[in-house]
């Protein structure tokens, strides 16, 4: 190798952060091809005139530079004659385990509220109160929802209802919660706290049901909310998407035939005995049940930019875009595998949908339905059932899988892959993204591998700027991991 070989590089950044933006006139820079990441990072910091250096990583053709530039050029068959376009990004920080909250049973869902989270938006009743400390909500197969502090204090547990698993739960506001489960009910709760924070007195909270929403004929498996318009979207294994109001005054009468009171004598009595301690809220029905899917609906979300638009995914292999004002289907995209969750990455304008075939498909809902995206995120060894976008960063995503891991993805790091082009997408371009970090369960030894995620399946994940990444599942623990700069 010619140690004196040089190459022109054009440094670029897509980061909106102006403090790491290079002056326009930098132009191509001649550097030695023997440079590695560290030397390039020093170079960028010098150009930025940073007193305290920021560690950078470098993306060339969607791949992180892990070798010398020369080795990278050789491995990728790139000529050193051209000007190389090099994107610098803040170095990614590996997640590390912070704390775990132990439960009695499997955990189906986790959500978070903190000073930095989006649910601080008030709903129409203005019931949202300012939050001092982050709160973490968990829903369990034991049929209960629980509230936790960041430091793993259990603040509140709901009263037993049907005894059937809760499958989904999220914050509507800081003082309202929505949950739903195998008992087919979508339930709105009021959450209140007493006690003094920071003092010696233990904080304690209570959950009070304020609305029981009936209409689904089978298990409700996903919930999402839009507080400013008091709307809930639910996905059910009865193949429908439910649109509901969180306000008692807006909800229509519930369908009589689906209420527990519809059952004949003995069966009804038994149901009522089961939940004697529980005082249900007033019963209401759906604003509409959206019908298009032919399989269980795994996810239903509001568009971040326009809450009158909804997206839903189903085991029937389709992603449907809905006009929530009319309840009409806008478009249907067909993929090649059952879809098990959907999350929006608003700044990229993309939807991430987890599949039973162990990959995440990225979909652009703005383009023609026939032009199904060819970008897939590959690496999981099991079904992907939950995902969350990184707060305030357009490119970050975390996914949760039945393989017992969460994976962190950086969508700037994307490469072409001929193999997947035929394997996944119809007319797709076959781009692949591989995960940058893997979060394993803290409950098992790190090197232990389980067949089919046996005992450690992850069912739900959130990503919050203040709290970090929270994940939960079959190991009966909510696990919090954070990216703390070294």
């Amino acid at each position: 190798m010619d140690k004196t070989a040089q190459i022109r590089i054009q440094l670029e950044s897509r980061d909106p952060d102006v403090t790491i933006k290079l002056p326009e006139n930098t132009g191509p820079i001649l550097v030695s091809t023997g440079l590695r990441r560290i030397a390039l990072s020093t170079l960028v910091n010098n150009l930025l005139e940073n007193e305290k250096p920021i560690p950078f990583e470098f993306l060339i053709n969607g791949q992180f530079l892990r070798t010398t530039i020369d080795e990278f050029l050789t491995a990728n068959g790139i000529s050193s004659e051209v000007t190389l376009s090099v994107e610098y990004v803040r170095a990614l920080i590996p997640p590390s385990h912070v704390v775990s909250f132990e439960h009695e049973d499997w955990i189906s869902a986790v959500d978070v509220v903190s000073q930095t989270s989006s649910v601080l938006l008030q709903d129409q009743d203005g019931t949202s109160s300012p939050i001092k400390d982050p709160r973490i909500l968990s829903a369990s197969y034991d049929g209960l929802i629980r509230m936790w502090s960041k430091s793993s204090d259990l603040l509140a547990v709901s009263k037993p209802t049907s005894g059937q698993p809760i499958n989904a739960a999220c914050f509507l506001t800081t003082s309202k919660i929505v949950s739903a489960g195998s008992d087919r009910v979508v339930r709105v709760w009021k959450y209140e706290e007493n006690g003094v924070t920071g003092g010696s007195m233990q904080v304690s909270g209570t959950f009070t049901p304020i609305l029981d929403l009936y209409g689904h004929r089978s298990s409700v498996d996903s919930i999402s909310v839009h507080a400013p318009s008091s709307r809930i979207l639910s996905g059910s294994s009865d193949h429908t998407v439910g649109l509901w109001s969180t306000r008692k005054s807006e909800g229509p009468q519930p369908p009589d035939s689906l209420l527990p009171s519809a059952l004949p004598g003995a069966a009804k009595r038994r149901k009522l005995e089961q939940s004697a301690a529980f005082q249900p809220g007033p019963q209401r029905g759906p604003l509409s049940l959206l019908k298009r899917h032919t399989g269980p609906v795994s996810g239903a979300i509001f568009s971040a930019k326009d809450s009158t638009v909804g997206y839903s995914t189903s085991w029937d292999q389709t992603l449907v875009t809905w006009d929530l004002v009319t309840g009409a289907e806008v478009s249907t995209r067909r993929l090649l595998n059952p879809l098990l969750c959907v999350t929006e990455m608003p700044d990229l304008g993309l939807l991430a949908t987890g599949t039973s075939a162990r990959h995440i498909a990225m979909i652009d809902p703005r383009v023609d339905v026939r032009d199904v995206t060819g970008l897939t995120l590959r690496g999981h060894a099991g079904a992907i059932v939950s995902a969350a976008a990184e707060p305030e960063k357009p490119w970050g995503l975390v996914s949760a899988s039945h393989d017992g891991t969460c994976r962190i993805w950086d969508l700037r790091s994307v490469r072409m892959d001929g193999k997947s082009a035929s394997g996944l997408a119809v007319g797709g371009t076959g781009q692949v993204c591989e995960s940058v970090y893997v979060i394993r369960r803290e409950s098992i030894a790190n090197d232990e591998r389980k067949v089919a995620g046996d005992g450690i399946k992850v069912f739900s994940v959130f990503w919050d700027k203040e709290v970090g990444i929270g994940s939960a599942g079959e190991d009966k623990r909510v696990q919090i991991d954070q990216m703390v700069p070294r």
């Binding site: 008992d183 087919r184 089978s218 294994s237 689906l258 519809a262 269980p296 039945h402 067949v451 089919a452």
Partner: protein
């Protein structure tokens, strides 16, 4: 100079025949002792299983969660579980010893009040019919072929709404697609071995009192009033409307364990304890169209994918499930294309018993199989 290989019809490679199950997706843990039978419900969200511990269990297919359990017998294994084929009701049938149990699994997510009421009505209808018949018929009754009864209230409270007791242990339950008729097979039942039951009338009939050979299994044709009965060495098809024998298939196996009828109705797969899997095309001959010998031990179960994928599978005592492509074309001139796709390993073999049963997901190319205390869900 022609290469003789080039004259043979070229089989597609497995890669071109995706999707099919390749990877173990879920383990279902909970049974103590061997699991004998599995069945996926019509919604594709629930798996039922029965085993040597005398329990029936229901599982959430996606997560592997055990959502419902009931012990049916403290002495006998639950040898077979089969869902009634309907999405308007949620009824599970299961057999332990000589008794067939009909279960509405309360607390399972598909059982909403409408479904519960509809399911009760289906199971109760025959009580009224039976009472009417008894009142109008003053003749002395023969010993009935089966006893239909309402179990004790403790069982009813647990969702076990109806039982039928026959004369010998039931090893096979096979539903007609409409969910009113079902057949049971009790191989040791002699003249009572094969029974056809009518749920709406609580009626049991024995149309095959003089079968040659020991009955093994039976199945309804997917669309016509034709009924298939397998004895150790042959499979007979009967026209139920005309009450006559249609065809006798001679698979050449020494001991048949299982059969399945293709959704089109013209093809049959037969599994045998002597390790053979036979594909019969009813248009061609009474002899097998293809004989497949891929297993080292007995074949316990064979099953077509009935949800639109050209797939079939068998389960063997060698601890494996084998997945095949089996494409049936309507064209009479063209025969079925059969390609072995994948051997699913990983089932423990205990006491010479390997994989005892399997079922397909009703819509997806996913298979479910089981043997020891764990059963498995395979995804593409």
């Amino acid at each position: 100079n022609i290469d003789p290989e080039s004259l043979l019809p070229k089989l597609p490679s497995p890669d071109e025949l995706r999707p099919f199950p390749t990877t173990c997706a879920t383990l279902f843990r909970g049974h103590e002792g061997k699991v004998r039978s599995v069945s996926v419900d019509a919604t594709g969200t629930l798996l039922a299983s029965g085993g040597d511990d005398g329990t029936v269990r229901i599982w959430d297919i996606l997560t592997g969660r055990n959502v419902w359990t009931k012990k049916l017998s403290s002495e006998e294994a639950v040898d077979v579980v089969r869902w009634r084929p309907s999405t308007d009701t949620c009824i599970l049938s299961a057999a332990a010893g000589e008794t067939i149990f009909f279960i509405i699994p309360q607390g399972v997510h598909t059982v909403n009040p409408e479904i519960e009421i509809a399911s009760r009505a289906i199971l109760d209808a025959g009580f009224g019919y039976e009472a009417q018949r008894a009142a109008s018929n003053s003749e002395p009754r023969k010993e009935p072929a089966a006893t239909w009864s309402r179990p004790l209230s403790k069982l009813v409270d647990n969702g076990i709404m109806l039982t039928i007791t026959v004369r010998a242990p039931v090893k096979v339950i096979s539903w007609h697609r409409r969910g009113d008729y079902f057949a049971t097979v009790s191989p040791k039942g002699q003249s009572h071995a094969v029974a056809i039951h009518t749920l709406s009338k609580h009626l049991t009939q024995l149309p095959f009192r003089k079968l040659k050979g020991l009955p093994q299994t039976a199945q309804f044709h997917p669309s016509k009033p034709i009924f298939f009965v397998a004895t150790q060495r042959s499979v007979r098809s009967y026209d139920l409307a005309k009450q006559e024998l249609v065809k006798i298939l001679k698979p050449g196996a020494r001991w048949i364990s299982s059969i399945d009828i293709h959704a089109g109705g013209d093809n049959v797969i037969i599994g045998s304890y002597d390790r053979r899997l036979l594909w019969h095309d009813l248009d061609l001959s009474v002899r097998p169209y293809k004989t497949l010998r891929y297993h080292d031990k007995a074949i316990r179960a064979v099953k077509y994918h009935h949800g639109g994928f050209p797939l079939f599978a068998d389960a063997s005592d060698d601890g494996t499930v084998q997945i095949f492509h089996g494409k049936v074309v309507d064209d009479l001139m063209e025969n079925a294309t059969i390609v072995p796709l994948k051997v699913l390993k990983g089932h423990a073999v205990k006491g010479a018993l390997g994989v005892l049963d399997l079922d397909w997901h009703p819509k997806h190319p996913c298979s479910l199989s089981e043997n020891s205390s764990v059963h498995k869900h395979y995804a593409p």
